[in-house]
């Protein structure tokens, strides 16, 4: 009896794994194929009789060296990093204080502000990019990466605020009130008590803000265009394609390298991504 029950459980476990295989192939194959292409010699890459799923004629790094030394890829990556770090830091600061106010303070207009944050959180970037381009022009930031530092917070701040508000609400009010009874001001209580408790939330918000700005495409494509100012995604998708001639090897190498910063973060903070994803959607 016990043996068959255990056997049935094992059978169920094995079949769950087997059923997951197609999903895993679907999720991962594009990355495998991208990486493979970036490492293939041109001779094999453009040989229509070759098997596209393997490297048979030896790997090569020429596509990567070409990308790094013959294009502006490093400049684009530097721009991406600058924009991403600044936009993340700015949004996290603005979002933290706004979230604290929403979660803890009672003042005129707090409900309306909460609703406004939530509505903006749902506004897709593709709705407002045309008029925003005009605003960017007036601010004198046309074709400048600073335009991105200024505009990315429009979608990062609502996100961070919403996420952090949920975290601040989970910090018991009593902890803070104790500190204030002991003579700390509200700001001190926030700085020394609440923020340290909310560190997981802050890490989560920072990770998501970083990922969202690194991955942003439509604003970067619209507000910047010269090779010195564009970000990695825009550079790879526009500058590596010249007319009808595609350099598939370098293109795929760019796609791989452009994803590296996110993959590194992802590997170290996977659990934060999982919780942040569900918290962002469900709170």
């Amino acid at each position: 009896m016990a043996a068959t029950a255990a056997g049935r459980r094992l059978g169920r476990k094995v079949s769950a794994h087997l059923l997951l295989v197609p999903f895993l192939i679907f999720a991962l194959f594009p990355f495998y194929h991208m990486t493979l292409t970036s490492l293939k010699q041109d001779k094999e890459l453009y040989d229509r009789t070759a098997v596209p799923l393997l490297i048979r004629q030896g790997p090569t790094l020429t596509h990567y060296t070409k990308l790094l030394w013959e294009t502006e890829f490093l400049t684009w990556t530097k721009n991406s990093l600058l924009v991403t770090f600044l936009a993340t830091a700015l949004s996290l600061t603005i979002g933290t204080v706004a979230a604290y106010a929403l979660a803890r303070l009672q003042f005129f207009g707090v409900g309306g502000f909460g609703t406004a944050i939530f509505v903006t959180y749902l506004v897709p970037t593709s709705l407002l990019f045309l008029p925003l381009a005009q605003v960017v022009n007036w601010l004198g930031l046309a074709d400048s990466k600073w335009a991105l530092v200024v505009t990315y917070p429009t979608f990062l701040v609502p996100f961070c605020t919403w996420l952090l508000m949920g975290y601040f609400r989970t910090v018991p009010k009593e902890v803070e009130e104790c500190a204030m009874v002991d003579g700390a001001t509200r700001l001190q209580a926030l700085w020394r008590i609440v923020l340290p408790i909310a560190i997981p939330g802050l890490v989560c918000a920072a990770l998501f803000a970083f990922t969202l700005s690194w991955n942003e495409f439509i604003y970067a494509l619209t507000f910047t265009s010269s090779s010195d100012e564009i970000t990695a995604s825009v550079g790879i998708t526009s500058e590596l394609i010249r007319g009808d001639i595609y350099f598939w090897g370098s293109l795929m190498a760019g796609a791989v390298l452009g994803s590296v910063p996110i993959v590194i973060l992802y590997v170290f903070f996977l659990d934060y991504y999982v919780t942040g994803l569900t918290a962002g959607a469900l709170k």
Partner: protein
């Protein structure tokens, strides 16, 4: 100023203590804390939105003075084949992608909630398409759908599922629509699966045990327990996904640019093409504002749901 205070032999409170006493009041600290966010939203969201409304009702053209023309843009758009095609595409694209993501998402979530050996690694792999920059991963798909070297076609031919040379994915309209829908599913499925999984985990185990004791089979348990209890999560996921699928830009822009012959254009890509590439900002703004009713519907539904849960 405070002449009376001089008489009292106690030193007046220093500026610092007075400021910090003020900051301890909710009515003062609150507005200070939200003001950066409010300013940002006013200047870079509300103001551009008003501009979009104005542009959409004007004949604005890059570098030329504009005039108010009322709702003419919104009406004239219906005479354009490209716009009518886009309108239809948006519903086909969103309907197909969200439906498939929902069905696959529930199945995947059910599988992920099973006892697994490499739980963390499997979840990590499943979520990956969602974190990688879409514009870059779509480049990978672009190469996979290449007319000469498509690995999809190679595999199809090698396994006997396709007749050589296989479909020209991005060159024929129905195939191109299929291709962009597939990439959207690929990129959006992790969000569905992981969020639905979170909902599944929160269903009390006792319910299943009780149902099993009453003789309910796995199918009955799914329809009578899992699905009804998942309803709130599913609603939120569908609403979220609808607005972001409807307003998709990256995948279309990289994979097809809206082609062949507008058959994959969505509002965002057409609005960019008309508003920026052809310079007709007025018309472009009107096109992107067609996203607004969908946004409003989703916001309304979400607010009702959120209100119920939070307040």
């Amino acid at each position: 100023m405070a002449v009376g205070a001089r008489v009292v032999p106690i030193a007046p409170p220093s500026l610092r203590t007075r400021v910090s006493a003020l900051l301890d009041r909710d009515g003062i600290l609150g507005p200070i804390f939200v003001s950066p966010a409010v300013l940002l939203l006013l200047i870079l969201v509300a103001y551009p939105f008003c501009m979009a409304l104005y542009f959409s009702m004007s004949n604005a053209f890059i570098g030329r003075p504009s005039h108010f023309i009322g709702l003419k843009n919104f009406i004239n758009l219906w005479q354009s084949d490209a716009f009518r095609q886009t309108f239809q595409n948006a519903f086909v694209f969103t309907g197909a992608a969200v439906a498939v993501k929902l069905v696959l998402g529930i199945s995947l979530a059910l599988l992920l909630s099973e006892q697994l050996w490499f739980k963390r690694a499997i979840r990590g792999a499943i979520l990956l398409p969602w974190v990688i920059p879409t514009a870059l991963s779509t480049l990978g798909w672009w190469w996979m759908f290449n007319s000469l070297y498509s690995v999809v076609n190679w595999t199809g031919i090698a396994t006997g599922l396709m007749d050589p040379p296989g479909p020209n994915w991005l060159g024929q309209k129905y195939y191109a629509m299929t291709a962009v829908v597939v990439v959207n599913i690929w990129r959006g499925l992790p969000f569905f699966a992981i969020t639905i999984l979170a909902g599944l985990v929160s269903i009390p185990k006792e319910l299943y045990e009780a149902a099993e004791a009453d003789g309910a089979g796995p199918v009955a348990r799914f329809w009578l327990i899992t699905l009804p209890l998942l309803k709130p999560v599913l609603t939120i996921v569908i609403l979220f996904s609808t607005i972001f699928t409807f307003s998709e830009f990256n995948i279309i822009y990289v994979l097809t640019h809206g082609g062949p012959i507008n058959s994959t254009h969505l509002f965002a890509t057409l609005s960019r093409q008309i508003g920026l590439e052809s310079g007709r900002i007025g018309e472009g703004a009107a096109i992107s504002l067609y996203l607004f009713p969908v946004l409003m519907m989703v916001v309304y539904a979400q607010l009702k749901l959120v209100r119920k849960e939070v307040y």
